[in-house]
């Protein structure tokens, strides 16, 4: 019998798959307590590298045409579809039933399609031309906030992550995401999908590890412009909000609550894009 090749689950930073610089790991267990993987226990330095990569990628990504960003999100949907079996398998090993896993992967694939379609439309919904009293063409356009820190919910580990990353990046932000601590496997495989879907290096960075360590570092980082606390444990949210004030971070929280993450009518909307946007108003002179 052939011995199978095991996969080492690594971080995804700046388009590459480094192991954590700390050389440390934590054990990811399956439902029956069996060892699934030694996942990277991301360090503060890893997180800093990720923020740096995200900052570096911001200008290029936010400067792409809306059409182009849409194309890349569509491509993400296609690759998720074609690698569905692998994602389903990882979700099952992490404890989902086959049906749950299939539903989750289908929902997140559709979620990419949904947000891909918004790329060249949300500015039309949220922008405005403002009738001011004077010879100025005055308009307001949404612009990305910058580097967004996303704390993914524990479950659904993959759909939750995609649901929070997609509205951030479709709007031109770059992301540093902390993956589900208990179920990081499929999330890390998602990194491979980003890497092979024309998403430029640094636009999405994925860090696995212990949330008690990673979240306060992310919240305190002075070059992170917004933080999505959806996956922050309730007991820690207040502390994150407090730390976020240090550089006036925008704090965004999505409570899927009873609605459930796969209910498309509530858990996806252009208002989720709006949460990671700044409104810029321009007074342009009118004259001969």
């Amino acid at each position: 019998m052939r011995l199978n090749v095991r996969k080492t689950y690594k971080l995804y930073i700046n388009g590459e798959f480094p192991r954590t610089e700390s050389g440390r790991f934590y054990a990811v267990k399956g439902k029956g307590g069996e060892l699934l993987a030694n996942a990277c226990r991301g360090s503060r330095k890893d997180l800093r590298n990720a923020v740096q990569a995200a900052r570096k990628a911001f200008s290029g990504w936010s400067g792409k045409t809306a059409f182009n960003r849409g194309q890349i999100l569509y491509r993400l949907a296609e690759v998720c579809e074609s690698r569905a079996a692998e994602l389903v398998d990882e979700l099952r090993r992490q404890g989902s039933t086959a049906a749950e896993a299939r539903r989750e992967v289908a929902a997140l694939t559709d979620r990419w399609v949904y947000y891909a379609g918004w790329s060249d439309k949300y500015p039309q919904v949220f922008g405005s031309v403002n009738p001011v009293a004077g010879p100025y063409y005055n308009f307001t356009v949404p612009e990305p906030t910058g580097v967004v820190g996303v704390v993914a919910p524990e479950e659904p580990s993959l759909l939750g992550l995609v649901s929070r990353i997609a509205p951030a990046i479709v709007g031109g932000n770059t992301v540093v995401a902390i993956t589900s601590e208990s179920r990081p496997l499929a999330a890390i495989t998602l990194g491979e999908i980003f890497e092979t879907s024309d998403v430029p290096a640094g636009v999405v960075n994925l860090i696995s590890g212990l949330k008690t360590e990673l979240v306060p570092w992310l919240a305190a980082h002075m070059d992170v412009n917004a933080i999505d606390t959806t996956g922050v444990p309730d007991v820690a949210i207040s502390a994150v909000q407090k730390t976020a004030a240090e550089n006036v971070k925008r704090v965004v929280h999505f409570n899927a609550g009873k609605i459930g993450w796969d209910d498309a009518t509530r858990s996806q909307s252009p208002y989720a894009i709006f949460d990671f946007q700044e409104m810029k108003t321009v007074w342009h002179p009118i004259g001969m």
Binding site: V132, G134, T140, Y271, W283
Partner: protein, 498 residues
């Protein structure tokens, strides 16, 4: 409003000759006898003027004369609690149940009453805050009325602002406003909140509360249901009590970044919504192809308007190297012609600094500028003996890392820096933690739009500066805060979408 601003611009000559500096103007004092400033103001709670629980009042002065104008009630935690409870009761009992079209008419009434009483409000604003009468008369008060008009119209049209969502009010809003545009800031805060169906507890700044209480009289005259708007006066402790009151659903704050951060921290762990409009250190970027005389007027207006007590003031001037010398020369001539003095004089361009504390802060920062090696130029005009004054000032040879290039001075002090390429201008302009506003001067339309794209700031003025309009959203990027005031986007902070 804008057109009135421009009228003023035309009245102050563009390329002033140095001879103008020697002109003498006969005083043209605005009458004050028609303005009724009460000797003492109480709190406006539940539709009535009530004495503060603290039984304490504090003096409020005219910063141009240091004379006492009136005394304001000092609201303590008990008063804040009373005001919040009245706001809650009004919210539950009346305001949320009233037809939106009726809400609109109340707000419209307030707008009209501000117009009717405009001159008295302008005079009081100038006496209490130190700003030139021509600014309070032509900018602050008309714009305040315009904000109420603008949002009156939104009250029964909210569903058009938020597609595919049901719009509800947040509830009771606690609003804290600064001393630089007292009545205008009250309008910016109150108008959208009321239009969206919220009730309000408003706290004006302690040095400039008089026009807020005059607004309370207007609100009473407009027959607004008691408790829909409550206005309480006091200093930081009163504000903190409001921020931390459990009965408040939303906090809107305009003021310093330092206090803004403190508020954001103290709201951690609550479900209160928050918007912050904080400090700035705005770049005003002049390219060599700009209409220079027009740009000089814009630079002057950008930094000396309202004594530079403007969060979006163009306090960092970036000149393309080739025009450094002529622009600095023109600036030197132009600030020599600025008339500094009695704010009630209709000729006055630059009025009194708002308070002694602010004057000391400006002096300290200006000293640091000289110490750090920048070259100072100050207008040589005479200033009155009494009151708080600071001559229009600018620095050249400013290092990008120096305090006068990084910290908000909030006074009539400009730092002049240079650049060679547009890329360098963008890089330098964005190099602060702030991001409230920016100015761009060039004849090239496509460059305006490129610069507008690249500057990380919420408001971009091109070939103009310090223009405001109720239809135009205002607010910052980065540490200049979050949320917008004005325009359709100004409704967002005051609604819950489901």
């Amino acid at each position: 409003m804008t057109s009135q601003l421009e009228t003023r611009d035309r009245l102050t000559p563009g390329a002033a000759s140095s001879a103008l500096a020697e002109w003498h103007y006969s005083p043209s004092l605005e009458a004050t006898d028609h303005v009724k400033i009460q000797p003492r103001y109480n709190l406006f709670i539940g539709g009535k003027f009530v004495e503060p629980h603290s039984k304490r009042w504090f003096e409020t002065i005219n910063p141009a004369t240091e004379e006492t104008l009136s005394e304001m009630a000092e609201a303590d935690a008990e008063d804040v609690d009373r005001a919040v409870k009245e706001a809650r009761r009004a919210y539950e009992k009346t305001w949320r149940k009233i037809a939106p079209s009726e809400r609109a008419k109340y707000i419209y009434r307030i707008a009209r009453l501000i117009q009717e009483k405009s001159r008295g409000l302008a005079v009081a604003e100038t006496m209490n805050g130190g700003k030139p009468i021509k600014e309070s008369r032509d900018v602050d008060i008309p714009l305040a009325a315009a904000h109420f008009f603008y949002y009156a119209g939104w009250a029964d049209k909210l569903e058009y602002a938020f597609p595919n969502r049901t719009v509800s009010p947040v509830g009771v809003a606690g609003q804290i406003i600064p001393w630089n545009f007292p009545l205008l800031m009250a309008a910016w805060k109150l108008a959208p909140a009321l239009a969206a169906g919220n009730t309000v507890v408003l706290k004006p700044a302690e040095t400039t509360s008089i026009t807020s209480l005059m607004l309370a009289e207007i609100i009473q005259e407009a027959d607004l249901p008691p408790g829909v708007v409550n206005i309480i006066t006091g200093a930081g402790a009163t504000g903190a009590a409001l921020v931390n009151h459990a009965g408040v659903d939303k906090i809107a704050f305009t003021g310093s970044t330092e206090v803004g951060k403190r508020i954001q921290r103290s709201l951690a762990g609550t479900h209160k919504k928050l918007t912050l409009e904080l400090g700035g250190k705005a770049p005003n970027i002049v390219f060599e192809d700009a209409p220079i005389d027009q740009a000089v007027e814009g630079i002057i207006n950008g930094i000396y308007f309202n004594q530079g007590h403007v969060c979006c003031a163009g306090s960092r001037l970036f000149l393309q190297e080739s025009i450094l010398e002529p622009v600095v020369r023109k600036l030197r001539e132009r600030i020599g012609t600025l008339r500094v003095g009695n704010p009630l004089d209709k000729n006055t361009d630059v009025g009194a600094i708002n308070s002694r504390a602010q004057l000391e802060k400006i002096q300290e920062l200006v000293e640091s500028g000289t110490e750090e090696g920048a070259e100072i130029f100050q207008s040589s005009c005479s200033v009155p003996d009494r009151g708080f004054w600071f001559r229009p000032t600018f620095f050249t040879g400013v290092a990008a890392s120096s305090r006068i290039a990084q910290e908000e001075i909030f006074g009539p002090v400009l730092s002049v820096l240079t650049f060679r390429t547009p890329e360098e201008a963008i890089e330098k302009a964005n190099n602060t933690p702030y991001g409230l506003s920016a100015g761009v001067w060039t004849e090239k339309g496509s460059r305006i739009l490129k610069m507008a794209q690249k500057l990380r700031a919420g408001v971009i003025w091109a070939n103009t500066y310090n223009k405001f309009d109720p239809a135009s959203p205002f607010g910052g990027y980065k540490e200049s805060g979050f949320g917008r005031e004005g325009g359709l986007h100004g409704l967002s902070p005051y609604v819950v979408l489901t």
